[in-house]
């Protein structure tokens, strides 16, 4: 399963030309190197998705390993009835939802009710004396605020947002992963983004400027 040198490069190029389904069918036929390629291709998206779901690096890695192990175990029964990523992220989503429910990660969620209500309670509103704060600290705080807002979403909404925003999946695929209709998914996404819009209001652009800009783009016949 190890790749090395020219052979490894040639193998990688060959593997890249094959679709995920073809690779998985090769795994089914006993080609472990195709499994290795799938592992390298999807380990990072999976670990990130799971990390954003369960909020813990070690747990995310354990769950990602479990996903790959289940894929490997199921290789003999694999039939290409759906996209490989749909199958992969469906396993990951189910594992993540079970993990979140079992370990009660919600206890760790931080209340984000206050920041959207006013400037006084916004955690990122810096006092005047700290205006010289390092830019990295600001960025870190912004990232932390975004992360907490996403983590504060209900589990299914969170999964929908992560698959939509970060994995850039289409509605049909996300709906299959979450086992709901596309219509239900659109409602789910709207509620989730509406919550985030309120929670992260201090970070989004000024509405007045934005509204004028959007109106201009719409009137010019340009879609967002």
């Amino acid at each position: 399963m190890q790749l090395s040198g020219i052979t490894g490069v040639r193998y990688t190029v060959e593997a890249m030309t094959r679709t995920d389904v073809q690779l998985m069918l090769d795994v089914k036929a006993g080609d472990d190197s195709s499994f290795d390629f799938l592992l390298q291709k999807y380990r990072s998206p999976l670990v990130n998705f799971l990390y954003r779901m369960v909020r813990d690096t070690a747990t995310a890695e354990d769950l990602a390993q479990e996903v790959f192990l289940r894929v490997y175990r199921a290789r003999k029964q694999y039939t290409p009835s759906a996209k490989f990523t749909t199958w992969l992220f469906r396993i990951a989503t189910n594992l993540a939802l079970n993990s979140v429910r079992d370990t009660r990660y919600q206890k760790m969620s931080v209340s984000l009710d206050a920041p959207a209500d006013g400037e006084d309670s916004a955690p990122l509103e810096l006092p005047a004396r700290e205006k010289r704060i390092d830019q990295k600290m600001i960025e870190r705080d912004r990232m932390e605020m975004i992360r907490r807002a996403v983590w504060g979403l209900p589990e299914k909404q969170r999964a929908a947002v992560l698959l939509h925003k970060y994995e850039e999946m289409d509605y049909a695929e996300i709906a299959k992963i979450l086992e709901c209709s596309e219509s239900a998914l659109k409602s789910l996404l709207f509620r989730a983004y509406e919550t985030l819009r309120v929670q992260l209001a201090p970070l989004v652009v000024q509405p007045s400027t934005a509204g004028r800009r959007l109106a201009g783009s719409v009137q010019e016949g340009r879609s967002l």
Binding site: F68, L69, R142, R147, L200, L203, V204
Partner: protein, 169 residues
Amino acid sequence: MNCNDVSKGLIAYLDRRANSAERQEIEQHLVACVDCRRRAEEFRALWSVMEEMPAIEPSFAFDARVRQRVAAEPARKWFEWMIPQPRLALSAALLAVLAVWMVKTSPVNQRVAPTTASIQQEDFNAIKNLDVLENYDVVTSMDALSELAPANPADNGPQNQNETVPATE
């Protein structure tokens, strides 16, 4: 299209997945509705802000641990194909129960045959001596009749049996 309708299609519009008809309707509404226009722009800004969410990299040991766990998987046995899958086993069991139930509740098997046979036997018993009863010679030669006065040979028939009794009187 009102604000509620727009909210249902706004996400698809913003990520360019709405069809042309939906897009046109939403755009017309956005031109006229300040609130929806503001919301749309804030969604767009939100997505931009969400790009800042950091990604993490799997640990260096990740691949090795996956390979280790894969290697620890027990090898498949040659007879494994014979072991039924749980769903298959459940389906087969349900099918067997259904088949037994259908056989038991089938009208063919509700002792209709014995009942029919017994009815036929009773009918047979009823008619098997019918020829004897209808045989006038046998009836007339019965011993009981011998005690009676000789019947008029001209009168021969079942109805004469009744008529012979008054004749003795």
